[in-house]
Symmetry: C2
């Protein structure tokens, strides 16, 4: 059996689950490699993937004998088949944070399971710790993003619109990766004061500040990086803010390692900001993996610890409403002795 | 109060609901115009939209006094505030097909509601019938798609890859609309045999067949259209299939009107196909609105009737595995006396 399903079966045993229904397609891809629409059942005796005609051939092409997963077409399944899967199971787990209330009731009915129990994001929590292959993919996604950034800072010229720049980034990712991992942000001038700006038709001007937040997918894994760059020169008032953000970002990097308390890292950045009368108005970062935003969330509300082989972002930002904003973000790998930045683009003043 | 919330309040009364929690952002946008992250509460006395700091200003900019919706920042809300919303409510509705099981439990706790009841897709079902403004938006989205198609058939040349063509379509939509309403399909040669093909690096060749399935968003409303076109000439074997698909598509259009039984329309296409030894392997169509796939689903499993001012697609397809496929799709408006195609692109043999 593949190592991830072996892990899941062990985890289920310790939770007294004799069966589990996995519906979240990201979790199914994590466990099986299959990226399609379907349902994975872990039963007492076997592992079963149920899908429709469109994906049967594909599922077989992904799985090996070693996976020990039987593929069924749902049109071939009877009500009796469904009821047999979890016969004599005391507790069957389901993904309560993915499955809708309506689906939950449908499962109860379809599988005739009396005790469908919550699994407290069991698989999502396991996904926090990346294995060697996952780290390789994340590293490559970050490299492609560094390359894209090198390309784009040469491409940007005054007179271009934010949308044109965002489109060029998207095209780069379409050609060199599996496309973007989230909607590219290119926010110039006063637009940079909005943390979640959407690219507009605003044209880049001399003396502008531009925040670019971008990432791609490689082998199903995401990258995430932000740089705030300058056109022509660095205005004195913005320089001050840039320095505070960069210093805080660097400080968090210095603190990120196995065993560090997440809350404390975010708190320290907030304290820094407050010293200069600014606030940390969004989370300091988040996990990155098959999804662009994953656990652990790096914020002052998170009392857990960083652990070896987590991959997280460090992205403090200061935003002056209606004027400008600065955000600097790297994606980093947590190790026993510190963190290794997977993002390698420069963070000094970048003037184009 | 705005007309859509007035409708909802009346519907709630007839379902004996004294309150309702609306979480699906598409439904919230439909009822309020607000396109953000938040929660809409319909309580005995008031309508409340709860969001976070990022969207407060925006929400106020969308709403008018006429809407009678109070906007709150969730950071200003206490546990007591939440408990007060539905005090003395016998039944409070929630969206069981959108809300996860975990959220359902959270709502029970947060609002201290004993009877949180399912609402059987109340709002989604209302969204099936479009009003005048919605129809105008859908019509414009379809017009932009017709224009994009006229543009793209002049753009395509042998030697280009499917990805390049798809990217050009996406760029057209980014410039002339609010981007795509779903991932553009450009499937050439044998790739056209897959109904859900993803654009590849395959280069267009002389004598190719190309299926293009595309749509954009305009004012939040979607368009959806498919054409299968030919490079150089129409091979005799494919011509035969094209004619069967087009004839069936036209027949369904002729049958689509207020009062028509959806199941029967799909069944008739299937019967046509079977006469020639082919199958209708996917649904014949679907509703189109704020979402690209909405109710009603036009399939042999749907026993409901078409109604005036529904907007649906008609998209039969025949696929010969490993060889080629043909699909032709229009988006149409249902009226009392027939349907009006919002898609106007030609459906005769298109040879580039």
């Amino acid at each position: 059996m593949n190592s991830k399903i072996t892990w899941l079966r062990n985890a289920m045993t310790s939770l007294n689950l004799q069966g589990m229904i996995i519906s979240n397609p990201v979790n199914i891809k994590y466990l099986t490699g299959i990226d399609a629409e379907g349902m994975l059942l872990i039963t007492r005796k076997e592992n079963v993937y149920i899908t429709d005609g469109r994906y049967i051939e594909y599922a077989h092409s992904i799985l090996t004998l070693f996976d020990e997963i039987i593929v069924y077409n749902y049109t071939d399944m009877s009500q009796e088949d469904y009821e047999n899967f979890f016969m004599f199971c005391e507790n069957v787990g389901f993904e309560e944070s993915y499955v809708t209330y309506a689906k939950y009731k449908e499962y109860m009915h379809k599988f005739k399971v009396n005790s469908l129990v919550e699994t407290d994001n069991l698989i999502e929590k396991q996904r926090i710790i990346k294995d060697e292959e996952e780290i390789k993919n994340l590293k490559t996604a970050c490299e492609i993003t560094d390359n894209c950034f090198s390309y784009i800072i040469k491409f940007i010229k005054p007179g271009m619109t934010e949308k044109e720049i965002a489109r060029e980034i998207d095209n780069f990712y379409n050609e060199n990766a599996e496309g973007v991992s989230f909607e590219t942000i290119v926010a110039s001038g006063e637009n940079s004061s909005k943390p979640h700006a959407v690219p507009t038709d605003r044209k880049i001007e001399e003396q502008d500040i531009i925040t670019i937040d971008m990432g791609c997918k490689y082998n199903g894994y995401c990258s995430d990086m932000t740089r705030t760059i300058f056109v022509g020169s660095v205005p004195e008032d913005i320089k001050k803010i840039y320095d505070i953000v960069l210093k805080s970002q660097q400080q968090a990097l210095d603190e990120m390692k196995d065993g560090a308390i997440i809350r404390q890292i975010a708190k320290n950045v907030d304290t820094n900001f407050r010293f200069y009368n600014y606030d940390l108005i969004h989370a300091l970062g988040h996990g990155v993996g098959m999804e662009i935003h994953e656990r652990p969330y790096i914020s002052m509300n998170n009392d857990t610890l960083l652990k070896e082989n987590m991959v997280v972002t460090d992205e403090p930002g200061i935003y002056i409403p209606g004027k400008y904003g600065v955000r600097i973000e790297d994606t980093v790998l947590i190790t026993k002795f510190g963190c290794i930045s997977l993002t390698e683009s420069a963070k000094n003043y970048i003037i184009i």
